[in-house]
Symmetry: C2
Subunit: 243 residues, 2 copies
DNA sequence: AGGCACGTGTGAACGTGTGCACAAAGTCGC
DNA sequence: GCGACTTTGTGCACACGTTCACACGTGCCT
């Protein structure tokens, strides 16, 4: 085996067999899962890498490599069995169990999130709503909004394992610290700040402004290109004029 | 110059001088920008790569390399002038101009987006709200909700350059097709579907479920590790038992 | 004016992710 | 049962991104 070792030593075997799925792959698994569920609903029983890749918006080679990290769940000459693949990906993502989610900050966004049905459909159960304002005590989406003062208590009692932060930016970091102290290690952050957390705590952020700014960047490039303008030259002239 | 050319030919010079900022860098510029604005508000006039990197949640080396793609805007031995860097990044991202945004789908999420103040603060102006339901004709955030039937007309008249889709999944692709046909080339999509678009159109998606699923994956890994359980072995046993 | 301390800018090494191309493995028709 | 055809799984090469480490430019202090 290993007929042509690259060149000399190889620090560590790495990816010995399947331990450790690449981060980029993990980020795509939910997309595949959604495409598969959609296919299943339309009655498909098997699907080729080509078809599934098209539905997920990736290339077939990438899809196959991604799936190969979970194991060999396809059949050569045929494709993948939809049901089985749904099961395997769900298991890998940990969706066989229910995840208990708390939302902190029940303003515009918090309300929308609390009322959103798309969570429950895939193993995420919103079990607690927390706020510091007048909304405390009100019923939202079938839950009574609790006070952040009781955060530690609620987290423990409701066995929350994932927290969603939807408060204004200024409140986010202190809140995050309390959540971490209460034992939370997975946070989804909507506030426009970079949360500082200790090792072992995973934060993912959803940032509207950032997304729009990235779109604006590319849009600008396009306009400049169409007009045959070199953005850097224009900028340079602009800077010089300002001096 | 070029004392040790790697090996033989190099397809294209690439990154000749500054043309083409890496995608990964572009995605971080908005974060730097926010950190800088925050620093400016606190009265800082200069900042080192170390400080700014900490505020942005990246390493200082990464920050410096990112900024070096825009030009040499720092001063050795001192750091970066906050105001000037804000200006340069804003310019690079195309924030010196106002971007006209339309939101399609004024439900739970659409309302929250329309009422959100964070857009206007950085050059994004919501100029049109569109829906197909009962909300048409109502006033939301100072704008009258128009009917999607008039989409093409509104896009042209309001000179919309960025569209936000916040409709249910099923409506997203047809809507996207119409937006593209109307000349839109930048779309921010909240619907849980992969939009198919022609070359030249940029889509970015914000996907709550995906984010939660990624968190769940890592959370699961952690639990398994703590218990000393090998997830693959457990899964294998599970599969065998099911046969 | 000259030395010193500081922090940027960047070359080079390394690691991760993507795309290509094809052998291997399976199915289906006959 | 066998051969032709289909499609997976993967080795390899390349592209992209990150990290390291330090030379060099800059301002400050004496
Ligand atoms: N609304 C949007 O579309 C949108 C879009 C992008 C980002 N965001 C971000 O999401 C966050 C929430 O936005 P929003 O529009 O819902 O704001 P909002 O002002 O409507 O709601 C914020 C809520 O947080 C509560 N709150 C404040 N301090 C708190 C604390 N210490 N503990 C608990 N709750 C606290 C307030 O009582 C309020 O109910 C903001 O950071 C905003 O920047 C919102
Ligand atoms: N609410 C959330 O927190 C949340 C979170 C994640 C993702 N999403 C996604 O965002 C989207 C919107 O969510 P929501 O909660 O606001 O849903 P919603 O049902 O409250 O609102 C959808 C709106 O779209 C309108 N609409 C339907 N078809 C349309 C069409 N063809 N053209 C124009 N408008 C049309 C409806 O009239 C309605 O007002 C959904 O795809 C949802 O999956 C929502």
């Amino acid at each position: 085996m290993s007929p042509s070792r690259p060149n000399g030593l190889s620090r560590q075997p790495r990816n010995v067999v399947s331990r450790g799925i690449p981060e980029a792959t993990v980020a795509r698994l939910p997309v595949y899962l959604r495409a598969l569920v959609s296919l299943a609903e339309r009655g498909a029983t098997t699907v080729s890498s080509e078809e599934l890749a098209a539905a997920a918006g990736v290339t077939s080679a990438k899809l196959r490599k991604d799936l190969s990290h979970l194991g060999s769940y396809g059949t050569r000459g045929v494709g993948y069995e939809v049901e089985y693949l749904v099961y395997q990906i769900s298991r890998e993502l940990g969706l066989s169990q229910d995840w208990r989610v708390a939302i902190v900050g029940i303003g515009n966004l918090g309300h929308a999130l609390a009322n959103y049905g798309g969570f429950a459909s895939r193993g995420f159960r919103v079990v607690a709503l927390l706020d510091a304002g007048e909304v405390v005590g009100e019923k939202v989406a079938g839950l009574t909004v609790a006070s952040v003062d009781d955060l530690e208590h609620v987290v423990k009692e409701q066995e929350v394992s994932i927290a969603v932060i939807a408060t204004p930016g200024a409140a986010a970091q202190p809140l995050c610290d309390r959540l971490v102290a209460a034992g939370i290690t997975s946070i989804l952050n909507f506030a426009p700040v970079v949360l500082q957390v200790p090792e072992g705590v995973k934060v993912r952020k959803v940032d509207l402004s950032t997304e729009l700014q990235i779109l604006a960047f590319h849009e600008q490039r396009k306009s400049a290109a169409v007009l045959g303008i070199d953005a850097d030259v224009v900028a340079q002239a602009f800077v010089e004029a300002a001096q």
